[in-house]
């Protein structure tokens, strides 16, 4: 089906998310959509999918103008979408999730026909090689599989146009490859695909055509053959961007963080970190690479004192750190949490208050029970200037900042004091290249000051760019430790996917691998 968007404009209070966007997707084409954070990609797709009504412009399908009042209309017209944030009900089974909204029923009163739906799901998944247990509960599935469920959901409804909004953000490179294979096979059978990503390599690899959005407008359309990563990046940001972090070789000193035999359970009391050992030295950046859901979140929470430890020890400069975030903070550990708005900031508080969120009780911000407003405001003004937080006033609510600026508030808070250890989880998730560049530079600066840095990231590019040492985490353990020089994306991807470490690893990793093998 040929899809045309003509002159789409969508405004939100205070923001023009899309402005006169034109986009043509030919039948059987894989069309990549690129752009900075907030460029308006998701908004445009939501307009196409009937979630938003455009303020101006129209949508043409095979030349016919259509109006979608809700996603139901879009689905009926053959449009399927895999959303940036999964749209799956965790407590439902795969079958229930897939059939939702397009249920098979039998008999009287709309009784569900689960058997029929299951049969059709198996059919779809076999046709496209999307293996999944139709009776599993979605909350029990790893992210990669959930992604598959999302795709099955779209295919189950026989989509002619398939929108994939950042589908690879949570996949290993290998899983990404599998997805590309599926995309190509779908495209061959005539499905049009719109593919959104921040990963320039992927775009060049899989897309037939590329449209770049900048600040809600089309910045240009091109093809992989006629462009490069650098050109794409410049098109997105509007200036040339340095894609590689400049950093000197690390000079590791003494051990700062030492983790031994750590066992941590997740919210549902399943073991998530399973006897993990790791050391991080002063002046080095250790990166934990791994697919989301392999215990990284629990590991970080345990190290920062947010989650009780079931067994094992964590020491900072030789002193054990207990399951209390404040003591960990006072021991000199800074933490950039995975989820900015959930963990790192208090929306509803001003920027100034958020900047003292974990030190409000210390001098000079408080004497006894009394908060020292002046000291707090003064610090806020200094840091807003120093870290270039774009805001009219420190009295502004952080909720009204853009994502990048919110992250800057956190970085300012965590970086602007002497620290021994920096723990950062997905420090650049969802940020655009400009912001990524900025944050990476700050992290390397910290390292050079002699701080031990532990980064958890699912982005291989980030891991490869920052790490002085790479630990691959799989199912709650470190399965390999690599020197970035010898790590390739392919090898990392294999390890993250659970392949056994090959020979040639460094000695510590071999030991660990051996231990893991004997324990398991």
């Amino acid at each position: 089906m040929k899809l045309e968007l003509q002159g789409i404009t969508k405004r939100f209070p205070g923001v023009v998310a899309n402005e006169g966007v034109d986009l043509v997707v030919e039948p059987g084409e894989i069309h990549a959509l690129l752009g900075e954070n907030g460029a308006g990609k998701t908004t445009l797709m939501n307009v196409l999918y009937g979630l938003y009504r455009p303020d101006e412009g129209e949508i043409l399908l095979d030349g016919r103008s259509v109006t979608f009042h809700d996603p139901g209309d879009a689905i009926a017209a053959g449009i399927g979408m895999v959303h940036q944030h999964f749209m799956l009900v965790p407590v439902f089974t795969v079958t229930e999730n897939v059939m939702l909204g397009a249920e098979s029923t039998r008999g009287f009163g709309g009784l569900l026909d689960v058997a029929d739906a299951r049969r059709r799901i198996v059919e779809v998944s076999e046709r496209h090689g999307l293996r999944v247990d139709p009776d599993a509960l979605v909350e029990d599935l790893p992210v990669g599989v959930r992604q598959r469920v999302e795709i099955i959901k779209a295919l189950y409804r026989r989509s002619d146009v398939l929108i994939l909004d950042e589908p690879t953000a949570v996949l290993t490179p290998q899983e990404g490859e599998e997805l590309f294979a599926i995309m190509r096979s779908l495209a061959r059978s005539g499905t049009s695909i719109i593919f959104i990503t921040h990963k320039l390599n992927e775009v060049l690899q899989v897309a037939d055509r590329i449209t770049v959005l900048r600040r809600g407008r089309v910045a240009g359309t091109t093809t992989p053959g006629t462009t490069s990563r650098e050109q794409l990046a410049a098109m997105m940001v509007g200036r040339s961007v340095q894609l590689q972090v400049d950093k000197a070789p690390s000079e590791p000193a003494g051990t700062v963080l030492e983790i031994k035999g750590l066992v941590v359970c997740d919210d549902r009391d399943h073991v998530a970190v399973d006897g993990l050992d790791l050391t991080v030295h002063a002046g080095e950046i250790a990166c934990i690479a791994g697919v989301q859901g392999n215990g990284q979140t629990e590991l970080v929470e345990a190290v920062t004192g947010l989650r009780p430890v079931s067994a094992g020890t964590v020491t900072l400069d030789g002193r054990p750190i207990t399951a209390h975030p404040r003591r960990v903070f006072e021991a000199g550990c800074a933490h950039v949490p995975e989820d900015r708005l959930e963990d790192g900031l208090v929306p509803g508080f001003t920027i100034a208050d958020n900047l003292v969120l974990n030190s409000y009780y210390l001098a000079p911000y408080a004497t006894g029970l009394r908060l020292e407003r002046h000291a707090i405001l003064q610090r806020a003004r200094e840091q807003v200037a120093q870290y270039d937080v774009r805001t009219p006033s420190v009295f502004n609510d952080v909720a009204n900042l853009s994502g990048g600026n919110q992250q800057k508030v956190i970085v300012a808070r965590e970086f602007s004091r002497p620290i021994r250890l920096l723990v950062a989880a997905q420090p650049t998730r969802g940020l655009d290249v400009g912001s990524i560049e900025y944050i990476h530079r700050r992290i390397v600066e910290k390292r050079d000051e002699g701080t031990a840095v532990l980064i958890v990231s699912t982005e291989l590019d980030e891991v490869l760019a920052l790490a002085d040492r790479i630990a691959v985490m799989y199912q709650g353990r470190i399965v390999a430790i690599l020197d970035p020089a010898e790590a390739t994306p392919e090898r990392l991807g294999l390890l993250m996917g659970g392949a056994r470490p090959e020979e040639g690893l460094d000695p510590e990793a071999q030991e660990i691998a051996a231990a893991a093998a004997s324990a398991g």
Binding site: A76, G109, D269
Partner: protein
């Protein structure tokens, strides 16, 4: 927030929890032996009547020696505690916990009925009667919350339903019209809740509280201003019990289950019907999706807001029936603030019942039992101050909410307004 983080299920913690329960069981055994067994007069017997008044088949009363029976129960309880301490029951933990609670209640009953006779069938009949309005309230809660709307206004809906049922049934002379009126007004109040919380995105608990205050104020005002002057408007016919032939002659069960008024039968039907509808039909799947992940439901073309409106209003109608029961199926008149917290207890039953109709019904029975037993004890002059006995249902509610809500999972989007854009 903290609940999740503090429960650690791995090895050592699990062991501690198991031991804790073991000690609790042993302590309960000790209480049964000392407070219930040793406290009875030597040689006294406890007699339990198994007949309802005027039934065809009469059973002999169950008479047991008080102290020995209590000691036996204590022994059994102690045995379970010892096993729990040493080996644990693993997956059957919940069953054992239930058994211990039953042993404790049995011990208590033996003590309470010592030197007296207690009509067990009566206690159970009372249980069902008391559970009825609570069940209606809980069903209303299930419908609303499964769709993601917290309805704390059920109390007010019960109260208004009761008022309107009394007036409409009195004015028309037909209790059926009273029920219909209560259903309509329940729906109207629910629609107000829905508009406030869905359209205007007022915090749902605040919207509910507003409706509760409004309902109390309005019914009290009208009761003083209108019913006071026109008492004939507060004099409806009641719907009496209907004996189901044959079935009601079954000993013990018959008089309890098959000799009730239409409200109770309607409750049975609705519990099953709503349960099936919620978990086995397309409608139910969509409702649950809306309550768990409204955005996901939206993206597959389900109208989230409409589903919520619809369910809240359906819930209001059920609450209206519950209110009508209090007047037309029970007391035959309206009095200010006559619901006495039953709506809130219904919410607790809903939580206890895991947001499922059948579970809520059984939870309501637990509350009904606590209440029924409490009244029975005061009738039998068991030497506990009436004020303490009257606290029992409320304390049970607190214990249930405290003990179970951590484990029971509310619909994920419960209480959260949904914004389409």
């Amino acid at each position: 927030m903290t609940a999740a983080a503090t429960t650690v299920g791995a090895g050592s913690a699990g062991l501690r929890r198991q031991q804790l329960f073991g000690f609790v069981y042993l302590a309960l055994a000790a209480i049964i032996a000392v407070a219930f067994g040793a406290a009875t007069e030597p040689g006294a017997t406890s007699s339990f009547e198994l007949n309802a008044p005027r039934v065809a088949v009469q059973l002999p009363p169950l008479v047991v020696p008080s102290a020995p029976t209590a000691y036996a129960l204590a022994g059994l309880c102690a045995f379970l505690g010892a096993v729990q301490l040493t080996r644990g029951f693993g997956a059957r933990n919940a069953v054992v916990l239930g058994a211990v609670v039953l042993l404790f209640i049995a011990g208590f009953l033996v003590w309470a009925a010592s030197t007296r006779s207690m009509n067990l069938v009566g206690v159970l009949q009372g249980t069902l009667q008391r559970a009825t309005p609570i069940t209606f309230a809980a069903l209303a809660g299930v419908l609303c919350e499964r769709a993601g709307v917290v309805n704390i206004a059920i109390e007010g809906m019960l109260l208004t339903g009761a008022f309107v049922a009394a007036v409409a049934a009195s004015a028309t002379g037909s209790p059926w019209i009273g029920i219909i009126a209560a259903v309509v007004v329940g729906a109207l109040l629910a629609a107000l809740l829905a508009v406030l919380s869905i359209r205007y995105r007022v915090d749902q608990i605040i919207a509910g509280t507003v409706i509760n205050i409004f309902a109390i104020g309005m019914t009290s005002f009208l009761s003083a201003r209108v019913l006071q002057r026109r008492p004939e408007l507060n004099n409806p016919d009641r719907l009496g019990p209907i004996q189901i032939p044959l079935l009601s002659d079954i000993p013990v069960v018959g008089p309890i289950v098959f000799n009730n008024n239409v409200f109770v039968y309607a409750m049975f039907v609705l519990v099953v019907l709503i349960h099936v509808a919620l978990f086995k039909t397309r409608w139910g799947l969509r409702v649950r999706a809306v309550g768990e992940h409204p955005k996901a439901a939206d993206t597959v073309g389900i109208d989230v807001l409409r589903t919520r409106y619809q369910n809240v209003i359906l819930g209001g109608m059920l609450a209206g029936v519950g209110g009508a029961f209090l007047v037309l199926g029970s007391t035959g008149r309206f009095d200010r603030e006559m619901t006495a917290g039953r709506g809130f207890i219904g919410l607790a039953a809903m939580i206890f019942g895991g947001w499922a109709p059948v579970g809520s019904f059984f939870a309501s029975l637990v509350f009904g039992f606590a209440d029924s037993l409490q009244a029975r004890l005061s009738i039998l002059n068991v030497p506990i101050p009436s004020e303490l006995l009257l606290m029992v249902p409320y304390v049970v509610t607190i214990l249930v909410v405290a003990g179970l809500v951590g484990r029971a999972r509310a619909p994920a989007a419960d209480g959260r307004p949904y914004e389409k854009e």
